[in-house]
Symmetry: C2
């Protein structure tokens, strides 16, 4: 797509934008702008002259209308936790549209099990509101204390509950959004079925704020399980983990609510760098699983199912050892070991990251091939592989060799990406399973995606955002 | 949208189309064309000079390329079971593209639980192939013996298993499709997560063949339940049915795999007109439910859950009577009573039909309001309401008064639609829950849909099908 340089907003235009939200909510001072310009991985340094913090869909609509009129590029931003730079403004010409003030939970319908929320609602607050109503909103990710539901939907977030409940797209019944023109798409519908024409909702979900600004959503809620059991399992190989997955799904169906794979090295990093971390098992294993079973019936029922699965797995020699959490505190510790793994890599130096997925049945094959190829390229590399085995989604990260030069190691990012993604591609996999494209993977997308699909994406962008003012330079 | 009259194909163009598929598969004789021109409700009489039966995606691509070059309108057709005329050619200028020869099941992956099928595969054959692999493909509808999976996806079919497994959209991981230009969109991916750009898959699903021709799909399969229990329940009111739904979902979670509501009149029609039908309960009730529980564990477990739910419901006086199927034959009879209801209305004369959904919690309110309004308009009307209570989706049909003139009654179709749809609209519901828009509801869609949404739909149509050659006069 031809990305003409965006028009920098004149002082007069900036003043008009500020008037829409009021001066207090039009941030211009560098110290106020700063939090909107950094991102979690420090890969992109954002730049802007203005952050707008509207309080209503009408204000968002007015902002987009003015942006359209003046051809001003707008970068929508939620909790600013994205990992691919999709939320970062690339130049001072771009204005940040923060949804964070639109954080009201408008309605919880406990009978129909739906919740209507504004886009800036923090995910943890959505979870808490569902919990208060005796229900479950299952989306769960490491950044849930600060990420916002609008961003979760724009990036079609995944996380640890996809196996049983699906990704963000699957958890959304209806959307309200503002088009680049400033027109409002009213779709806050609570309907489980609605076949009235084209499904623009799913087109906007996962579009990373390049087609419209999501301002509100109707979310699906679920009955809260009566009991949950969490186990930490040690085993020899991903092949055995896959076989156990099949057994567990056959036995537990969708009561199997988590099946997370972790390699030993990630465990070591986590134990080394996480306060309060402890190994749930008494000896070391090459691979680990965090398995969760949820029962609608009772805690005993969940326990029984878990024990039956693990006993059969021990008998079949699929696993070497297992610990079932004996208390809520145990369960929290087990989960903490998994969640801390993402951050425990940072103190070990540079890390080249991959967010890949392959067909579930081929995960073991992928890991073997990728390990061999990466270790050929960098023999002392320390591979940290972990992720959502039940979804075929592995965070395949490579920490620098001990004592290596960080910058020199990170300079090989593209080279190593090419090796790993090449293997993924050969398995009909994806190099962006749940983190999206943003700025980080945009060129790779253009280079690798089928040309017909790429042309279709561009024509969809053109149809919705003819002036290319919405989050330019991202995704397409 | 400006629907310019389609260009009738010249004899030379028709010959070129025939060459693509071979003369044997280019039908031109009236007796061969006939089956493609009628539809189940006899509302639309199709017309065409040519039916093309390609055998491969490459042939479909060649057909669309030629259609694009010659501006020939093409109507894709699957099993020809659609209820809104979406599959019927409106004039002799339109050529039917039948997918029925593309009926191969390319692959079943029992570990990853996916199946790759061609668009013309009959739904029952998909179900059978899953079953043979020890797995479940849950999509289930009355026409499953003849409808084809490409049509199911194009219409985002619903049916009786949506409650636990979702609609057709939720059951599809990847699509292959041919654009109006003849270009092939290759998306037969088996990935549970893939965030590489815009989600065109969900845009094509439910587009009723107006944006592209679906040629293949990757379907999700599920573990087969170890046990299933089916109960027929008699109760006093939809309010009580809704309360029971809440209790059953809390107890069984997604083990609750069907929750179908039926009014007494539908039961009477079914008993009267269905060979082998019998009332599972000993006395008459105002309303009925068909409830199904599936357990991954065992038949006993499913039975236990069912008994616990029904015992509590009797105690709470939510229900009046219940019969649990004591054999597979019983279960089949119970299901037959539900499925025969659609067809049992035909012998009773004219029927004005509605395929509506409202938020689940409001179904009882809808039924009360609609009954009152319809009986005010036609005091002797015989209302047959039944459907998927768990989805908020009711087939709200009105049989003519006894002895009334059929034609005079059916002449009030639009008037009665307006009454019922007005009530639905006031509850933020939909007048097309699972059957789609097609020809039947196209004008109503244009009249009632929000203008911003309607404009967006038109610009999506324009982006994908600039010459308006694909299924013109349908949906938008």
């Amino acid at each position: 797509m031809n990305h003409a340089p965006p028009l920098p907003a004149t002082d007069e235009t900036i003043a008009r934008f500020a008037t829409i939200v009021g001066e207090t909510h039009a941030l211009r001072a560098p110290d106020l702008l700063a939090p909107y310009l950094t991102e979690p991985r420090d890969l992109f340094k954002g730049r802007t002259r203005l952050v707008l913090r509207p309080d209503s869909t009408a204000e968002v609509a007015a902002i987009m209308k003015l942006a359209s009129e003046t051809r001003t590029p707008i970068v929508p931003q939620g909790g600013n936790t994205g990992l691919v730079g999709g939320q970062s403004p690339r130049s001072e010409a771009e204005i940040v549209l923060s949804l964070s003030r639109m954080n009201r939970i408008r309605d919880v319908d406990a009978v129909g099990r739906t919740m209507v929320v504004e886009a800036g609602t923090i995910l943890a607050n959505v979870q808490a509101a569902a919990d208060e109503a005796g229900l479950l909103f299952p989306l769960s990710l490491g950044s849930e204390g600060s990420c916002e539901i609008g961003g979760n939907l724009s990036s079609n977030a995944g996380g640890t509950s996809v196996l049983a409940y699906g990704n963000a797209r699957d958890l959304c019944l209806g959307l309200e959004a503002v088009l680049p023109s400033g027109e409002i798409l009213p779709g806050l519908r609570r309907l489980k079925k609605d076949n009235r024409g084209y499904d623009w909702k799913d087109l906007l979900i996962g579009a990373e704020g390049t087609l419209a600004v999501i301002t509100g959503a109707v979310l699906k809620l679920f009955p809260k399980p009566a009991g949950r059991e969490v186990a930490y399992v040690g085993l020899r190989s991903p092949e055995k983990a896959l076989r156990l997955l099949g057994r567990a799904e056959a036995r537990a169906g969708r009561q199997l609510t988590a099946f997370e794979l972790m390699g030993r090295r990630g465990m070591e990093f986590t134990l080394r760098h996480t306060p309060g971390a402890r190994d749930p098992l008494s000896s070391a294993h090459a691979w680990y699983l965090l398995v969760e079973i949820s029962s609608q019936r009772s805690a005993e029922d969940a326990r029984e199912t878990m024990e039956a699965i693990l006993a059969a797995a021990l008998e079949e020699a699929l696993i070497e050892d297992a610990a079932i959490a004996q208390s809520l505190a145990d369960a929290a510790t087990f989960w903490k070991m998994r969640e801390a793994m993402s951050w425990a890599q940072k103190p070990e130096g540079g890390s080249i990251k991959h967010d890949v997925a392959v067909p579930v049945a081929r995960v073991a094959e992928f890991l073997a091939a990728a390990d061999a190829a990466v270790l050929t390229a960098i023999p002392e590399a320390r591979i940290v592989a972990f992720g959502h085995l039940g979804d075929g989604n592995i965070h395949y990260n490579i920490s620098q060799p001990l004592g290596a030069d960080k910058a020199a190691f990170l300079a090989r990012w593209t080279e190593i990406n090419a090796i790993v993604h090449g293997i993924v591609d050969g398995m009909d996999g994806t190099f962006s399973a749940e983190h999206g494209i943003g700025q980080l993977k945009r060129l790779e997308l253009a280079r690798t995606k089928n040309s017909v699909e790429m042309a279709l994406m561009r024509s969809l962008k053109q149809a919705l955002d003819p002036y290319q003012i919405l989050n330019p330079g991202k995704v397409v």
